[in-house]
């Protein structure tokens, strides 16, 4: 028998000892969970085989784990073997444990691992399908609620919307501007290194203008907003859902979509193009600065080349995408928030799902737009 490690915490009694006195197995010492920890159970259980009685009068402390062990000893010893000498408390505990032993296990049909995997895959696909369906139906509900606004304009929660414009829009200006500025700098620097090889330095203006205005400005802004505001939407609505505030709204005859979702969606649809515009300007400034330092393209040259060579449609293409990205981010953020269940676990999980899914969908949407614009020839 190994010595137990947790000696000082327990009463100074020795861990359990087994003595075979003829047909009788006598136990003494301390039989608790810590004693069981250091016990060679299979060996001890074997000692019970063939004995006629188990004497526990010598035991000093018996807890639930100890009582379970006594029951196990008794079962091993066979039918009709009694436990004798138990203190009233211990006897009661043994009875309690005996009553609560596992019911005879019903033989569980164990499926093959491959089948398990297949089943899990099927369940996952089913869940994904259902989620896609309910997301689309949620989108429909929100669009319907927004479409009703011109008819009943008083239903718009203007204060809430302005608040979200400030939170998701104004507060994001510094980070978006800085990010776009740095992207402009990086593009100019990388472009310059490559274009210098051909002596085509001045084309850096086209490079920066097209990539920032058409793609990067709005795409990166959308990603930042998804991380900043999409997650905030999910967390805020999810916390309200958890505390049953959403249910309280419903019982008051208020529509959670109208109160919680529509202001957030509209705020983002208004603010994302503005943020995108700021990102465009900031990106161009960054690019112009770097071109001036690295290539000696003066701001005046940069400006005139920008105006003459860059089709205004590049800017238009970027701006057209903005409200769609906003819709994706806000809808997914609010939808995941409303899917939060009663537990804290789901809040964290759905917040991260919300960010990942909305960034993914924004990129998918961007790809679709690229195809669309290529087909219409813009």
């Amino acid at each position: 028998m190994r010595k137990t490690v947790h000696q000082p915490s327990a009463p100074p009694a020795q861990p359990v000892r087994f003595i075979l006195e003829g047909p009788r197995l006598a136990l003494s010492g301390r039989l608790d969970i810590a004693a069981l920890e250091g016990l060679d159970r299979p060996r001890s259980l074997r000692m019970a085989e063939g004995c006629r009685g188990i004497d526990v009068a010598g035991l000093e402390r018996v807890d639930t784990a100890g009582a379970w062990f006594l029951v196990a000893l008794q079962q091993r010893a066979g039918e009709g073997v009694a436990i004798t000498g138990a203190a009233p408390g211990t006897a009661q505990l043994i009875e309690t444990v005996r009553r609560n032993l596992a019911p005879p296990a019903a033989a569980k049909g164990r499926a093959t691992p491959l089948l398990d995997r297949l089943e899990a895959f099927g369940r996952k696909s089913d869940r994904a399908g259902r989620k896609a369906l309910s997301l689309v139906s949620f989108l429909g509900q929100v669009v319907a609620a927004i479409a009703m606004l011109p008819v009943r304009p008083r239903r718009l929660r203007l204060t809430a919307m302005v608040h979200h414009c400030q939170e998701a829009g104004l507060a994001a200006v510094p980070i978006v501007a800085l990010m776009a500025f740095l992207i402009g700098v990086v593009l100019a620097f990388q472009g310059a290194t490559q274009l210098r090889q051909f002596g085509a330095e001045v084309f850096v203006v086209d490079l920066i203008a097209i990539s920032v205005l058409r793609e990067l400005g709005i795409l990166l802004t959308a990603i930042i907003v998804a991380g900043r505001s999409g997650s905030a939407f999910t967390a805020a609505i999810g916390a309200m859902k958890m505390r049953e505030e959403v249910d309280a709204l419903k019982t008051l005859g208020l529509d959670p979509i109208e109160i919680l979702v529509v202001p957030r969606v509209l705020a983002l649809i208004v603010m994302l193009p503005v943020l995108g515009f700021i990102a465009d300007v900031s990106g161009l400034i960054g690019g112009a600065l770097m071109s001036w330092i690295e290539l000696g393209v003066s701001p005046a040259v940069f400006q005139s080349r920008l105006v003459t060579n860059t089709d205004v449609w590049h800017f238009g293409v970027g701006m057209i995408k903005a409200p769609f990205f906003a819709l994706i981010i806000a809808i997914i953020g609010c939808y995941e928030g409303l899917s939060v269940g009663g537990d804290t676990d789901s809040l964290g999980r759905l917040t991260s799902t919300s960010v990942v899914l909305s960034i993914f969908m924004v990129i998918v949407m961007d790809a679709l737009f690229s195809i669309f614009f290529a087909v219409v020839g813009v």
Binding site: E37, A65, Q92, L93, T96, V97, L101, D343
Partner: protein, 271 residues
Amino acid sequence: MDTAAAETPRDTRAGEAPAIRVRGLVTRFGSHTVHDGLDLDVRRGEIIGVVGGSGTGKSVLLRAIVGLLKPAEGGIEVLGQSVRDTSDADYRRLRRRWGVMFQDGALFSSLTVRQNVEAPMKEQLHLDTPLRETLAAIKVRMVGLPEVAMDKFPAELSGGMRKRAGFARSIALDPEIVFLDEPTAGLDPIGAAAFDTLIRQLQAALGLTVFLVTHDLDSLHAICDRIAVLAEKRVLAVGTMAEMMEVDHPWVREYFHGPRARAALDAGGVH
């Protein structure tokens, strides 16, 4: 009532330090003093009910005793050991000898019921997995949870079941003291009565000392050996239900002689 406690083995050890001894406890939140010179003794093997109006610091007292909250002044001894002036190792060992059940069970939401009960065993002891699972399953059944609840997550359980599971976790290591914070709050009367019986049964079987924060007059009456009333920032009175009926203090009178108290007494039969 007292006879049931006297049967438990731990109560017979005479001359032992009380389960909990609080002396001159002062707790403050900023400038707001919750307890001012609070004294309380809890005997081994008894079920003590702690009552008091909202904001009198019942839960704060519980949190101070188990060391979740640092009191401004005063001494707290649990099982003869100081909670405040002790080494980390001693405090860790001491902590293993008590279990705490928080108001809504405070189950870990990412673990199933069985895993929740296994968690303390896993952290504190080096038991092999089958033994741990067996013991955890016995505890889950002991608190009266159905077999199907074993592998469910807390979010899938009702409030009453969560409380039971929280109780199972608090007794996972067969502690000497369990602290229960409002175990019957929010339960239906039948569920609350069943929970009372459960506490009584397990207390008798495991020889527990139970520190019970409650507002439930029925459980005070049905299972508590003694009652401690918190008011005016200290323990105003300690004693049996019968002794509480005699206390001459407006709040205590209101509490124990109000219509709800009388109903509870009538239902239980006056002692």
